[in-house]
Symmetry: C3
């Protein structure tokens, strides 16, 4: 296995840099995992006997990174056993779907998905050779056998993974029943919710009106106008906070934050309710609500995360047949300097406010985000997101952000994953990448080893913990 997962993997080949990288990594490799943002389902922890299904169910079907790559090379989603919205025919034999995946595993050469999977298969299932069409069924058997063991209950893995805290992401209308069940169970793992109100904020999302109705039910506040809508949101935030939440999360195509007057906001809200809101209404309302959510964060202390720039469901045919999160979300260019100015001028100097920014347009790292984070007390930068959660993406992030913002205006790492078993691999890639980048500063005599060791510790652990008040 030494050859398969080399202990110096992902480090620069220069012997001097590698030597230091190894030392720095050694100091942080075993620190607990702080997971302040992600999409793991809280049900995994609510039921102490929860089990993952087949290897295909655990590793292939829910992973849109894998699905998109296979689809891009002509594998039909039906053949990957992805369920259709209309209940139409799809592959039922999980072994055959797995075989197709293995036949195409060479597509992931050099990609982060390939690296995570390699690591995951080795660490969790002792699979220490590359997945191929030839070994597909044997590997399936090996995984399948392990999955049935009690060691693979999510709570057991939580301990094995050395997780210190894990935040889920939950709709504003969620009752948090699973979180309540976790608390009631007496299990000491720390699973906290995150308040994500997108579905009740974006007037143009499918089913917005139903979501508003649900918001009324779950909050116990009759949502009939903008004022009652705001009260209901505030109520939900209070409930989330009581259940341990320290943060909110907001997805937006753009970061614009122009305020509406209360009268305008209410007029748009009413048009939303009676189904006459325009695309422009939705656009303006979303921007205004970012501002309003910032106001609430100032008041209740929940850290505000904003994820900007994903054009969701770009492929209509895929969306109609299979729904969301099928690998068909494509980034767009973003702008922060002008767009965030209304919000930052109102709240950016307030010591009670913290705003963590994520983004899919790397050109904004050095041009806008690092200068903003390097000036406004409220702003911190989240780690490279999604397509850029990769070795190359991390190197570019370090290079583009840290000379201007320093490391202390960043929020460390988060794995942002719905693939629970991949969490250790993802943190490990970050810790190795950070150690290697810091080693590069040391061999260039920019920082000394003592400073680098402090920085490695912060990047692996401290920054994320403090940024999210965990």
């Amino acid at each position: 296995m030494a050859d398969y997962l080399h202990p110096d993997r992902y480090f620069d080949p220069d012997p001097a840099q590698r030597h230091i990288a190894r030392a720095l990594y050694g100091q942080v490799a075993h620190l607990p995992l702080v997971c302040p943002h992600g999409h793991v389902d809280p049900r995994l922890f609510a039921d102490p006997d929860y089990r993952f299904g087949s290897p295909t169910e655990m590793l292939l079907i829910p992973d849109h990174y894998i699905v998109r790559m296979l689809y891009s090379q002509g594998v039909a989603m039906e053949d990957m056993a992805i369920p259709r919205r209309d209940g139409g025919e799809t592959e039922r034999d999980h072994r055959r779907a797995w075989q197709r995946f293995a036949d195409h595993f060479y597509l992931f050469r050099g990609t982060p998905t390939g690296l995570w999977l390699r690591e995951e298969l080795a660490d969790l299932f002792d699979v220490t050779e590359l997945l191929t069409g030839a070994n597909a069924q044997a590997v399936y058997d090996q995984i399948d056998a392990r999955l049935r063991s009690p060691d693979f209950a999510p709570r057991r893995l939580y301990e094995r993974f050395n997780i210190e805290v894990l935040a889920t992401t939950d709709a504003a209308t969620d009752t948090l029943a699973h979180h309540q069940a976790i608390r009631d169970s007496g299990w000491p793992g720390r699973i906290v919710p995150t308040f994500r109100p997108d579905a009740v904020v974006n007037l143009d999302m499918d089913g917005w009106r139903a979501q508003i109705e649900l918001l009324g039910q779950v909050s116990g506040i009759d949502v009939v106008d903008y004022a009652s809508y705001i009260r209901a949101l505030e109520q939900r935030r209070t409930v989330f906070k009581a259940m341990g939440a320290t943060a909110t999360d907001h997805a937006a195509l753009s970061a614009h934050t122009d305020p509406l007057s209360a009268v305008e906001a209410d007029a748009i809200f009413q048009r939303g309710l009676n189904g006459t809101a325009t695309a422009a209404d939705a656009w303006r309302f979303t921007g205004h609500m970012l501002l309003e959510m910032a106001r609430m964060s100032v008041e209740d202390g929940l850290v505000m995360q904003v994820h900007v720039g994903s054009f969701r469901n770009h492929n209509e045919q895929v969306y109609e047949r299979f729904g969301r999160d099928m690998g068909a979300d494509i980034p767009v260019a973003s702008e922060f300097t002008r767009n965030l100015r209304p919000l930052l001028n109102r709240f950016g100097n307030d010591p009670r406010f913290r705003l963590i920014l994520f983004n899919l347009d790397e050109t904004t790292y050095g041009r806008e985000l690092a200068p903003l984070a390097g000036h406004y007390p409220a702003v911190k930068l989240g780690p490279p997101w999604w397509f850029f959660d990769s070795l190359g993406g991390m190197r570019r992030y370090f290079d583009l952000v840290l000379e201007t913002a320093g490391i202390y205006n960043t929020a460390g790492f988060n794995d942002d994953t719905r693939a629970y078993p991949s969490i250790p691999a993802r943190h490990d890639v970050w810790r190795r990448a950070a150690a290697d980048w810091l080693a590069g500063l040391v061999v260039r005599h920019m920082v000394d080893e003592a400073d680098a060791a402090d920085m490695a510790q912060e990047m692996a652990y401290g920054l994320a913990k403090r940024a999210y008040n965990l």
Copy 2:
């Protein structure tokens, strides 16, 4: 010469990485050259006795990379023996023009043009010292003598270069007489045309109406309205395909693809014919025609290439005096996620369709192009184009594209050159850059050597061949 053209040139200096790069390169250095896109004149092959003119005629005058650099440093184009459109005075003594070029050759230090020329002069003409003002005339003599030899007939060079197939780029109105002559000659070299309809698609190009008339003549279809125009284009594509074409090519300032109704399209076409089309008409028509060309590709199977983002003839004075392709084309920012959506939603999931995208805005690599190619079955990314066909450009392309799209959603390399003798040098730079990049993955233990060897083979040869159905 070992010192002049070092066998390890362009590889990373780290000994471990270099060792692997050398091995990977060694496995692909002598593979045949697949040249699926470029601008070599088919006349070179139609006439078995074709000879290049003087060294200045072959190497300086037609190379807008060289012309622009000398011009940027104050050398008048007239002094480079560039012909003027008005027939005005220009340098007639090719030796004096060559001397000026040599006097300024230091300008190309570190540039791809400098590297290609060094390689070309060494390989083809045994010039194994840097070109300078001092050796200019001796080098001229040396090249000139070789050019007269029968070994420098383009067909002989085709064999010497180990070219497997070479695609030219030809106007939709081209009769393909040279291609016919090549076929008729019985020479076994494979020269295929590419259908490039820009001049009949862009209403705002000089002479569009004359081109439409020509289209009517060459197709035998009376082009009087949009419907007959479409029929004529379809007829030309059929002819191109019969002559061996496997692809089309389209240059567009922007990638927008909003459809027009048949009525709108015809109205704009009519305004074009009677000279009243506006700039907005031309803009909308171009976008619509990309969509229409995609529809034809689905039907006839020709691979569709789109080259986006060159602002042509930026310098009016140079254009008026010397015409097109004088080094005065400047890139602009591009957008694909929203712009290509109409086209991709219509055809992007169709297994009969293939779209290869090229672009001059590197910010779109990671943000838009790699995610699109990593999802849509129809989309592949072309190699770095023009200003970015360079060692640095390739490194950035590999870094920005391949973690998201993998190598298998790219179209390998093409040289895109009108400078026939530079073809081997250009492929060699790519093969070395790819080997070095793959070696970087190996020393970081991201892929093993066996996988890297497969990938090197694909990047040097297989990807291009398959992407273009060659």
Copy 3:
């Protein structure tokens, strides 16, 4: 100290590359400093006995790079002894402000500010350990003692720094009295002014009308309309030129250069005078004036610098309380290809004109600026500016610009600083970065060592001197 400031600092760790970098750097390290653009106050040289104040006054208060970083981490500007516009309470004890700075010095790990300060403290004040909260007062004492010595008079430092020429940046309305005093004093240092007319060009800047009045006074021309305004500007340029200026400088949010007719220009100017100019007026007038300034440069030979893309005073609260240059300027995306076209088509081919472009949007380096500089005789690129005046910023600049434009279409380095004592450190970083980058070309066998030595000399000294006609 060898360990503290390593002689090989900032060089690549690869031994072969480092060996060559060291040799190249050794050949340029002691060349005189050419400082063609910066913001040092000419008073420093006008008064032969000028002394810097306290360490806090010299190093902390005026350095907006430091101020912004401390502010971003919650240190109040009042606590840094920054004076308030309203004269309100701020820290008066410079030792306490210094202590706060030292307590937070870890924030600058890996940042250019951190590197410059380390170098400056070591070279000028023999401080050879990292600044910390613990040694803050001892370091303060050490600096303070040196500052009182006659060796720290700015003229003495000028000689010690081996400066050959230093350009200041001066308002169009400046009488240049300090420059006159320097000349009158007989001191042989070469301090030249630079004509910066922003305050009289941008109608929307605070106090524009007062500036116009001042322009009238200082030029002796009654500025009552556009024509007299232009005459007054021309008069000031003549005065600047007579005082040794070789260049002008223009800050613009965007690079647009659409011409106004004389009638339009006058109408807008009149609206400016009577206080009815709109934001659109100001926008159009600024663009037109870039064109007009280019016209004057063609006539009087002053090199034109344009700095594009800084959104000034982004933080209203900071601006209202502390004024300009407090670290609250944030970059925006820029566009040059279309925006500069009117200007370049009018003057870009004129051998009498030189335009040096600076910018805060790195995406334009490869896409727009290098192609423009690599074609138009008039255009040269300035070095990486502000946030990008850093080791990483330089590496990206070299990588993105130089394959297309070559080094000879760049303007070398300038320090652009108001922090006089940091000048040697800033040039040293550039010289090391350039030597290392050139060494990278040598070990990759792209250029030979002789060419690299020429290039290093040019990048350290020759390019800047010639670009600015110094």
